[in-house]
């Protein structure tokens, strides 16, 4: 196999021969499993979890392959390979997901071993992107770059990636298990709506430790993760997770698929009893066997390398001049660019949400362009965000104008990160066998209605999240405005919720009123925005105005015509 190493200074975890041997063995194992299924040795019932653990779903019209992007970090070479696979085996595009992964929606079963082989050439795979195991760990898309970062979560996410890979005890859990980790006070990874949310921080001595939230989740019974321990020392990081998973594996419900997630166990046992069970297990597990020694953490950190930043200053003159001369560029900087921990650099969000576009979709050509831009401006490294955008995390401020010019020329310069057009939408009834309603056309219609960038910026921070069914893959519960597709006697309707919040102040949105049609939904969003704008105080966010004035005025306006 022809391996291509990531760039030396990309700041991406570099595989060694053992990592590569493992992925190659898994590809061969899956090839053999496919053969055993075809020969009848494995029943469909037995084969299904095995294929899911290799990321392969059977959707409405075709197989879908979900490729793992561990904690959302990619090299330009890996992105080029994804572009190539999209062109060769799919319809020339891929879809970035809310789990920071990439899905190919039009795959043939017989092509999958070859695709997995090609992925392995660039140190990629589709392992544990599905199935009742610990899934790909997610984190902040600005990890290792954000100025507000306290702990670099990549190192711990990589430790988790390794520890959870083919875990002998936790590969047949009651249900899927999702972990998110965040290393700054600003929660950009929605950690409290995950099975386990980890908040990495430092004590007054500068030592790293972790706060654990357990039992969050969306779906048909949304729960906010509960704080079960404020400080787990770094050396106990793996032992504590092992304890949580062991309690879940033993006591989680297996009689009802809808009650099998850890959130139900935490809810049924109660926070106190669940915590006690975990603490008892942890007390037994704690010891040399599961100890995460500092030298191990250092070694993993070393394998990330790290971009060789230059000594620069913030706001160089050319950057200031470009902003002054070009208001569109200035707007993009104001909306899509985040302060970097290193002076003179910035993290830029590449929106995959053009007005009227499909959230999270990228063509092979766009992927190749972004890969080139990552090489030119961000050490050959890029990220996928859980809101389905791409990020170049380490761009020199004096290169931002060049970057923006290239993005703008290729339809990738939409200035709407975090704004009303930056919609999360699940694949919905266009692809998914579980969906009740389509999500994508609605997202397209809403983003087209609010296409004007100046208007979007004036409205400010307002997340719309759309799910095509109660499984809530579009995170509608935590959308400032959430939209849930429902089926009413064979017709698509949409239920609107308001006041959801995915950050550490997590809140589940409240239903505004009866479900409406797709067209009415777009009008309802506009009505909600108008009520907000006419009621807001200076600088007040949508959810804060909503808290202050209550649902009344919004409800009244939305349902006035009914």
């Amino acid at each position: 196999m022809n391996h291509i190493a990531p760039g030396r200074n990309a700041g991406v975890y570099s595989y060694d021969d053992i990592d590569r041997r493992f992925v190659a063995e898994r590809v061969e194992q899956f090839r053999a499993q496919v053969e055993r299924r075809l020969s009848g040795e494995l029943t469909e019932d037995e084969f299904k979890p095995l294929r899911l653990m290799n990321g392969l779903y059977l959707q409405l019209h075709a197989y879908m392959l979900r490729v793992a992007v561990p904690y959302g970090v990619l090299t330009s070479r890996q992105l080029r390979k994804l572009a190539e696979i999209g062109r060769k085996y799919d319809k020339g595009y891929g879809h970035f997901t809310t789990r920071q992964n990439l899905q190919f929606n039009w795959i043939k079963l017989e092509d999958t071993p070859a695709i997995l082989h090609e992925l392995a050439e660039v140190d990629m795979h589709a392992l544990q992107t599905s199935g009742n195991c610990v899934r790909n760990v997610t984190t902040d898309q600005f990890v290792g770059a954000a100025r507000d970062e306290v702990v670099d979560g990549r190192v711990y996410a990589e430790i988790l990636r390794q520890w959870t890979t083919l875990h002998p005890e936790f590969t047949f859990l009651p249900r899927k298990f999702k972990i998110a980790i965040m290393g700054s006070d600003a929660d950009r990874a929605a950690i409290r709506v995950h099975d386990v949310g980890v908040f990495a921080k430092r004590n007054e001595r500068g030592e790293v430790g972790f706060t654990f939230y357990v039992g969050g989740g969306l779906g048909r019974s949304p729960f906010i993760g509960k704080l079960i321990r404020d400080w787990v020392p770094e050396e106990d990081f793996v032992a504590y997770l092992e304890a949580i998973l062991r309690v879940y594996n033993q006591y989680g419900r297996r009689d009802n698929i809808y009650k099998a997630r850890i959130k139900i166990l935490v809810h049924e046992l109660g926070q106190e009893k669940f915590t006690r069970e975990v603490e008892e297990e942890f007390a037994r597990l704690r010891g040399p066997k599961y100890r995460l020694a500092p030298e191990i953490v250092d070694e993993i950190r070393r394998r990330f390398g790290g971009p060789a930043f230059e000594t620069l200053t913030d706001e160089p003159e050319s950057f200031q001049a470009a902003k002054a001369a070009n208001p569109d560029f200035a707007r993009w900087v104001a909306v899509n660019v985040l302060a970097h921990k290193v002076p003179g650099y910035a993290a830029a969000t590449i929106s995959l949400k053009p007005a009227g576009g499909i959230p999270g979709d990228a063509t092979s050509e766009q992927m190749e362009l972004v890969a080139d831009l990552a090489d030119a401006h961000s050490f050959g490294e890029l990220r996928v965000s859980h809101v389905q955008n791409l990020v170049l995390a380490h761009v020199r401020q004096d290169a931002l104008f060049t970057l923006w010019t290239a993005l703008e020329a290729n339809g990738l310069g939409t200035p709407n990160a975090g704004l009303i057009g930056d919609i999360i939408a699940c694949p919905g009834l266009d692809y998914c066998a579980l969906a009740n309603a389509r999500s994508i056309p609605l997202a397209q219609a809403i983003s087209a209605r609010f296409a004007d960038p100046a208007r979007q910026q004036a409205i400010g921070e307002l997340g719309i999240k759309i799910s095509g069914c109660i499984n809530a893959c579009g995170h509608h519960h935590v959308g400032a405005i959430g939209i849930l597709g429902v089926d009413k006697k064979g017709e698509e309707f949409y239920q609107i919720t308001v006041g959801g919040d995915p950050t550490l102040t997590t809140a589940i949105g409240d239903i505004l009123g009866p479900a409406v049609t797709a067209d009415e939904t777009v009008d309802a969003i506009e009505a909600i925005v108008e009520v907000y704008l006419s009621n807001r105080h200076d600088g007040e966010r949508f959810i804060d105005t909503l808290k202050r004035v209550g649902h009344g005025p919004f409800k009244e306006r939305v349902y006035a015509a009914h």
């Binding site: 060694d16 063995e25 898994r26 194992q29 002998p168 936790f170 047949f172 995460l292």
Partner: protein, 165 residues
Amino acid sequence: MPLIKDGRIVEDEWVAVADGEPVPADRPAIVTFERWQAERASFDGRNAALGVRVKSGTLAPAIAPDLDRFALVAIEFPKFRDGRGFSTARELRERYGYEGEIRAVGHVIPDQYRFLLRTGFTSAEAPENTNPESWAHALTEITVAFQPSLDDPQPLSLLRRRLGS
């Protein structure tokens, strides 16, 4: 049903006794855990080895007080997807120091064999028409492990393998 040990089919010296059937006194026998609980006095003075078969919902702490009476614990997998048995076996070994045979019974597939061994199982009951080659192959197809486990005191874990390199 064929018994798999060390990657191949072996002769089973144990007899599984259904509830209500007499337990042979002169050869190793496996009874249900429920029967053991109900009739424990009847096993006093037994010389041949005794094993118990536990349901997947019977966890290690329930079996632990009587462990020294059992030369074998058979843990049931009602469906191969029900993974509670992996934790039960591991707890029997690590928490309670059990050193007897731990056998996977019910529905397990070769693709789980490595997991079984790594969590402390010593044998597995395979389906009647199983392909022995698949079990043998399961021992060699993946040669890398990232966690500490029971089948290898020095596995190629993420921690130890990095330290040496």
